[in-house]
Amino acid sequence: MAQSHDIAHDDHHDQPDAGIKRWLFATNHKDIGTMYLVFSLIMFFVGGAMAMIIRAELFQPGLQLVDPAFFNQMTTNHALVMIFGAVMPAFVGLANWMVPLQVGAPDMALPRMNNFSFWLLPFAFTILLGTLFVPGGAAAGGWTMYPPLALQGGNSFPMLIFAIHLMGISSIMGAINVIVTIMNMRAPGMTLLQMPIFCWTWLITAYLLIAVMPVLAGAVTMLLMDHFFKTSFFNAAGGGDPLMFEHIFWFFGHPEVYIMILPAFGIVSEILPTFSRKPLFGATSMIYATASIGFLSFIVWGHHMFADGMPMAAQMFFMMSTMLIAVPTGVKVFNWTATMWRGSLSFEPPMLFAIGFLFMFTIGGFSGVMLALVPADFQYQNSYFVVAHFHYVLVPGAVFAIMGAVYYWMPKWTGNMYSMGLAKTHFWLSTIFVNVLFFPQHFLGLAGMPRRIPDYAVQFSDWNMVSSIGGFGFGLSQILFAIVVIQCARGGKKATAAVWDGARPVGLEWTIPSPAPYHSFTTPPTVLAGELHRA
């Protein structure tokens, strides 16, 4: 507190502006982080509502609720909203809040760009969701936008492309901000290898973002040209190549997958040591493993395209490179397990979500190794087995990590403890239902049900009904999450500076009061060797 009192004399921006101006003209990393997180939560419910429509239609065979064209709009936009609207902004929001606090910086390096990168998102998603109301409906060609199908889109098509450009610009600016902050604004004495692991995973993620978001922008721009300017990048009749789009898209798409999981690795690596009361095992090898995964992500894109027809040498290469990813990922899982080993574990909500992540992400990893095997992939590809796989890594993987992070750091943000009972109930309901939702989808896929279909043969009825029940349960459980967050923002038992006193978390963010003062670390703290948990 003394610190924030000192700076109040010479800084007239020590208190936030009143009303809407605080948010519109926000340059404070905490305000912007909060906006990102709130935006992400809203998008999580929007994308979730679309998932509910999908699961309701698939509750039983036959078409009961929606037209197949609308169903395709739902699957397409569910993916776009969840990826670009929920998961990615949530991670950027967490980076905004936590990177300056963890490296001891007063703010993000580029605050005005930070403001711009957030405020692009509401516009991008207004445009994207607006496509639901234009003639012809929203984009329905899948989030992968493969031509020629994507080119059949109506008025929604240019809106989709424009929205993706805005999201891409926003992501790139967010990534630049993270890199510049981490590279230039670490507290004196904090070497890169000493830096908290969440910052490390975000640093690597930021480089991935800068590398691949322009590739996506290029791909969708070529689509736009094909549609409106009579080019033939992807048009076979004009000498173009529809497969080229898939190569370009997945060159973006596979690193994108890791963009959505590496910060989650960082979060879990922060939470597990705290509640195991023990340093992260093999912290340096964790960093190298993250960097290896980041590198490998650029040379595995072909595994999305085995069924497209590929030279045998390419099939072999992409199979081997994909399987190789299991090695650094395995190192991470083993290190996390070793962190808990001979620790002293307590089970607060963040720890529950981290443990849930550990088990269920690993299940997603197993199906990932299976999918890497080309011959087997011919059976799995584009079946519900794939749907089960990537939802296991994204929902009990990325989303659980985000929720764990919110439960871990929210008392630091708001200064209030939340209801542990409600949060634990939220965890158990989510865990039970997420498995009821996605585990049967493995069976459906293996038994031969393709993905992205609104209706199915009757032998798939039973597991689809189970999966839908899980879906409704999981969706409803998330209302609890919103309740816990709102309650915590409004008040509650006051949190201490260390928040998890019993567990004594280590890191600069726990040295400042709760709630974190509007301006923190205006005088850089000095980090002594051995002070941080990974000395």
Binding site: P61, G62, L63, Q64, P68, N72, G141, G142, Y146, L149, A236, A237, G238, G239, P242, L243, S276, R277, K278, P279, F281, G282, A283, S285, A307, D308, G309, P311, M312, Q315, M316, M320, V327, G330, M340, W341, R342, G343, S344, L345, I355, T362, I363, F366, V369, M370, P375, A376, F378, Q379, N382, F443, A447, P450, R452, D455, A457, Q459, D462, W463
Partner: protein
């Protein structure tokens, strides 16, 4: 190899071969529950081709390896969760920070396990990609939302479209009021299936006239995309004695009715297949005769006109990307 027998022992109870189509149609109750393939409802179908069997065995090998790893890793996690509880006074061993030896071990062991998986997988890829010595070639063209089958080689001239069966098509309308369970092979039946001989290496040349489709029969272990401007190859050889009807679906999102373009293949003995081809040819000759008796060859060209650029572009194969 011993491991093959071991895999067979471990194989989860797979059903017998697919029911012959006639039996399935004979009684509605059977039709209701008749599986579309040899899957038991929760695992890959064992299939009716050697390739499908190999894929199934590979799948089960990897599955059991994953189960083994899961038992070890989850076992260690669960042991930690039970044994090292703060509430039971566990004292953390804060000196346990890293161990180069252990970390090398758990880097090397996964590499070895991956090699064990990769070797049989690579062997199977070699077989899948060996397109030589086919006995029958059929050109398969995807359309929104049907398949066209154009026979080559001995059956040259046989050419037809295959679309969703009428009863399924009525039942699948929004608010149709028809119970899908009352429709035999709902969404997995067509008006005219692809007919192929058993015991013959059948090669498909896949392409598309509009968007990307994918041809998939789980029982053949065969899936490949049909892409405009490309010709993709795919082969299968149904084990003699496994004649019957095999069903699958388009496996690449291809627009509004993606869920409604099944792939159905009727496998006949080579003799029956020959009879079928002769009957088809006679039928086509008859159909063509009243219109233009002088040009029976027209029947062979009854396919809709194809755009010239497409044909030119189709000379490339996807393998030469």
């Amino acid at each position: 190899m011993n491991s093959i027998r071991f895999q067979k022992m471990l194989r989860l109870g797979r059903p017998m071969a697919a029911l012959p189509a006639t039996a399935a149609l004979a009684s509605l109750s059977v039709a209701e529950r008749a599986a579309a393939n040899t899957s038991n409802g929760y695992n890959l179908p064992y299939g009716v081709t050697d390739l499908a069997h190999e894929i199934y065995d590979l799948h089960m090998l990897v599955f059991w390896i994953c189960v083994g790893i899961a038992i070890v890793v989850f076992g260690a996690m669960i042991y930690s969760l039970l044994k090292f509880r703060h509430s039971q006074g566990a004292v953390p061993d804060t000196s346990m920070v890293h161990s180069t030896k252990v970390e090398i071990v758990w880097t090397v062991i996964p590499v070895l396990i991956l090699v064990v998986m990769a070797v049989p997988a690579a062997e199977t890829i070699l077989k899948i990609e060996d397109m030589r010595d086919s006995g029958l070639t059929i050109r398969v063209t995807g359309y929104q939302w049907k398949w066209q089958y154009q026979y080559m080689d001995a059956a040259e001239g046989v050419n037809f479209f295959s679309t969703l069966a009428q009863d399924s098509n009525f039942a699948r309308e929004l608010h149709s009021g028809i119970d899908p369970r009352s429709v035999p092979n709902y969404l997995l039946a067509v008006d005219k299936p692809l007919v192929v001989p058993s015991g013959t290496k059948v090669r498909l040349l896949l392409t598309s006239q509009d968007v990307i489709h994918a041809w998939w029969i789980p029982d053949f272990g065969a899936k490949r995309d049909a892409i405009p401007g490309f010709i993709n190859e795919l082969w299968f050889n149904v084990t003699p004695g496994k004649e019957g009807t095999y069903r699958g679906q388009c496996a690449a999102l291809c627009g509004r009715d993606h869920g409604f373009m099944p792939v159905v293949v009727e496998v006949k003995t080579p003799d029956d297949f020959k009879k079928w081809v002769d009957a088809q040819k006679a039928e086509m000759k008859q159909a063509a005769a009243p219109a233009d008796a002088a040009a029976p060859a027209a029947a062979a060209n009854a396919a809709p006109a194809e755009s010239a650029p497409l044909q030119a572009a189709a000379l490339r194969t996807a393998s030469q990307f």
